[in-house]
């Protein structure tokens, strides 16, 4: 059953296997006579209907242990099932799907290219919100400029840019990715990856960085939150909002501004140096990223941004735990050298023995898979329900168990299972599907 199709409000008593239904509120309805008896009595008089939406249900869930709650008694046959509306929306040739993530600038949504059927992600930027972020508009323009030039399998590809002046929105259409490393870390035991997995991602990060630095681009905000994974586990470096293209003709990689995330900033930026080597900033941040991926911790911690920057600026990083093994420990210490000149270059890191050899998967270790927002392990396209809505529009949005019994020709002598109710939903859809096909826009005479 697809929980998105049908939000339900029910009592677990009348529907025996309702336990596995999402949005279900159990024990809210006070004990009542068995549903079976009730139905045998003939048609009960209609009861008043209580509407609950998702948030309210969540609220109820939270409040369950507080006592004085008052409930309307609703006959289970009168419970209203609502097939959730998924209004299909197009932007250009793209069909919009669900939200994948949210940032200060706006949302990231999934999209489907209606011509090639390729899954895409779109960053929706609202002008109004951008103005409130320091350097917001400027950063976006720079990001677009950079992404238009860059083309590498470990750098996110900008597919299309669309503007909607009326809504003051900007759409950056990009490759579709299933997950962010940071989310995966947060959902994994110990908030870290097995070394084998970290190695896989780190080597891809090196490939991407090597390309970027070769193109004279410094990212300046490398962190797990800016590293995405595609369906086939290709790592993509994203978010070039604070990246910088170096002057092609200058022999050095001097930068003057740093706007990255504090925990990943090197001492030179934490100390407010006026100019610093851009490339070595990325090396430091990659070091912190590797540290974080393999230990679940950060080399520097602090209660707040100021403390954190202070400890980065003054102190030495927490030494890598010995459990990592000597080779990885040495690599991390090298990458996290206070003096930028002492940090290795991408080429040197590549030749390091930890990078060269692929660590085995230890006994008991499990690879971490991308997390899903909606308990869909396969990360199926979220656009499909919208397409279904578009191509097979529903005739009746609400229905009750009684309606369905009526349709089945069932006298109401038995209790319907949840599965049957979801079947009801799908067979309804099927019927609707039939009825809609006569109006297929593409049908024409041969």
């Amino acid at each position: 059953m697809d929980p998105r199709m049908c939000r339900k409000i029910s009592s677990s008593e009348s529907l025996p296997d309702a336990d596995n239904v999402e949005y279900e509120v159990s024990n809210i309805i006070a004990p009542q006579e068995s549903d079976d008896n009730f139905m045998l009595d003939g048609s009960p008089e209609p009861h008043s209907v209580t509407w609950l939406d998702n948030d309210q249900i969540d609220e109820l869930d939270l409040n369950l242990d507080q006592t004085n709650l008052c409930f309307h008694r609703v006959d289970s046959a009168d419970i209203i099932y609502r097939s959730k509306k998924k209004k299909c929306k197009m932007v250009g040739k793209y069909v919009m799907g669900d939200v994948l993530g949210e940032g200060s600038y706006g949302k990231v949504k999934e999209m489907l290219d209606s011509e090639t059927l390729c899954r895409r992600a779109v960053k929706i930027l609202k002008k109004r919100k951008l103005r409130r972020i320091p350097n917001g508009e400027q950063n976006v323009q720079r990001e677009i400029q950079l992404l238009r030039i860059l083309r590498h399998k470990n750098v996110i590809e900008l597919v299309d840019v669309m503007y909607n002046d009326e809504k003051q929105k900007m759409y950056l259409v990009m490759e579709f990715c299933v997950g962010v490393l940071q989310d995966m870390l947060e959902g994994s035991p110990g908030k870290k990856f097995p070394q084998r997995q970290a190695h896989d991602y780190f080597t891809q990060l090196l490939d991407g960085l090597e390309y970027l630095h070769g193109q004279g681009v410094v990212h300046k905000d490398i962190k797990p939150g800016n590293l995405l994974l595609t369906l086939d586990h290709t790592l993509k470096i994203t978010d070039f909002g604070v990246a910088e293209a170096l002057d092609m003709f200058s022999p050095e990689d001097t930068c003057y501004t740093g706007q990255g995330s504090p925990a990943f900033q090197p001492p030179e930026i934490a100390n407010g140096a006026e100019q610093f080597s851009g490339v070595k900033v990325d090396i430091w941040s990659s070091g912190v990223t590797l540290y974080n991926m393999t230990t679940g911790r950060y080399p520097f911690e602090g209660d707040n941004v100021y403390r954190l920057l202070e400890s980065i600026g003054r102190g030495e990083p927490a030494p890598p735990p010995p459990s990592l093994g000597p080779t990885l420990g040495l690599l991390l210490t090298n990458m996290l050298k206070r003096d930028p000149d002492l940090r290795p270059t991408v080429h040197e890191i590549r030749r390091h023995s930890w990078v060269q050899a692929r660590p085995p998967l230890e006994v008991g270790e499990r690879l971490v898979t991308p997390r899903s927002r909606r308990s869909d392990e396969l990360h199926t396209s979220t656009v499909i329900p919208y397409l279904v809505e578009r191509h097979y529009p529903s005739a009746q949005e609400y229905f009750t168990e009684r309606d369905y019994r009526h349709e089945l020709g069932d006298g109401g002598s038995r209790t319907l299972s949840t599965a049957e109710l979801s079947d009801a939903e799908s067979s309804r859809r099927k019927r609707r599907w039939h009825s809609s096909c006569g109006r297929l826009p593409s049908c024409r005479l041969t």
């Binding site: 090639t116 299933v178 898979t369 006569g438 593409s442």
Partner: protein, 360 residues
């Protein structure tokens, strides 16, 4: 060995234009040995991405050697164009043959031969860890002696990625100029989820090819791409059309009318849908039996099919086509084969080897 020199070839005529106007196929004579060859001339400058695809095509074909796969002879650059030489396939592609001579489908025996040879090519490709990803009639070529050869390897993908054997792939094949290739692709390939797809995806395409060869028309040809996508994801299967899937009008006119009207009263929109389909988009994707789960009013629907046919149609060509479909009977094994290949669940689909052992 063929020389990579334009002076050794005499271009005789243009066979076709392809790849959305980027390439032209010529028939030519190879002067040193008087052999007929086909030369594909690409205008490489038009797009950069195409160049890498052509390269991919050549590299893949160089690696492969099978009687049912179009071999690569040589290639060379002359002026601003790239020439790729292959043996001449006199009868062109199955699509050309369908369009020109067999608009309502090839005879069953011909389908069987073409499909068998295509399967042999796929069996070989799969053994070499390739997924073809664009099995379609326009990529199945027929030579002068009736030999069948599979082409279109530009969208083939290897399961070996960076030296490692992958179990599944996730990426869509490179888009063709008009995105028609999507119609042959399997639901799991189009879905682009974490499960990915494997060589069974080609078997699905082969099933679509079955319908294409048998019916003459490509399933899903006239529906919007997104609808084709949802249809496939929801498990509806294209079908071979004959009297079993497409019953003959068996009632006389008045009876039919009355039944039609009564049907109309009961399930009017469905009838409408049905006629629309027959008229417009060639009906294969619509049939109650193609639905994944048995639907409640199955029997009602069946009666409907009988009642409907023959009413409200004016176009001659269409009714002729309907007559052909309704009047013929394809063997049950052919139906079985196409159904097996078109199963929604890739794990249930037989492999190329298994299909080659199919009784049909």
């Amino acid at each position: 060995m063929y020389n990579p020199d334009i002076n050794d070839y005499q271009l005789t005529s243009i066979i076709t234009e392809c790849c959305g106007g980027v390439a032209v196929v010529y028939s030519a004579l190879y002067k040193p040995n008087n052999q007929n060859v086909a030369i594909k001339r690409y205008f490489v400058d038009k797009t950069k991405e195409n160049a890498s695809l052509i390269q991919q095509d050549i590299l893949t074909r160089k690696e492969l050697n099978h009687v049912n796969i179009l071999p690569y002879l040589t290639s060379f650059v002359h002026g601003r164009e790239l020439y790729v030489v292959s043996p001449l396939m006199t009868f062109g592609s199955c699509r050309d043959i369908l369009d020109r001579y067999f608009q309502e489908g090839l005879p069953e025996l011909a389908c069987a031969i073409v499909l068998r040879d295509t399967l042999q090519a796929l069996q070989y490709l799969h053994k070499q860890l390739y997924i073809h990803r664009s099995v379609r009639a326009s990529h199945v070529l027929i030579g002068a002696n009736g030999g069948v050869r599979l082409s279109g390897l530009r969208s083939a993908a290897s399961l070996m990625v960076r030296g490692r054997r992958q179990r599944h792939l996730h990426q869509l094949p490179p888009p063709d100029s008009d995105n028609t290739n999507l119609m042959w692709l399997s639901p799991e390939l189009l879905e682009q989820n974490l499960k990915g797809y494997d060589e069974k995806s080609d078997i699905y395409s082969l099933g679509v090819l079955c319908c294409e060869l048998g019916n003459g028309a490509v399933p899903f040809a006239e529906v919007p791409t997104t609808l084709m996508f949802t249809e496939k994801v929801r498990g509806s299967r294209p079908q071979l059309l004959d009297c079993s899937t497409f019953p003959e009008p068996c009632l006389d006119d008045t009876e039919m009318k009355s039944e039609y009207i009564c049907c109309k009263a009961v399930l009017c929109p469905t009838t409408l849908m049905f006629t629309e389909k027959v008229r417009g988009s060639r009906p294969q994707l619509l049939d109650c039996s193609t639905f994944p789960e048995p639907c409640l009013d199955d029997t009602e629907m069946k009666s409907m099919y009988n009642g409907d046919s023959g009413v409200g149609d004016s176009a001659d060509a269409v009714s002729r086509l309907r007559q052909v479909y309704a009047g013929r009977k394809l063997s049950d094994t052919f139906h079985h084969l196409s159904e097996m290949a078109l199963q929604r669940d890739p794990d249930k689909r037989p492999s190329a080897t298994q299909l080659l052992n199919h009784p049909w």
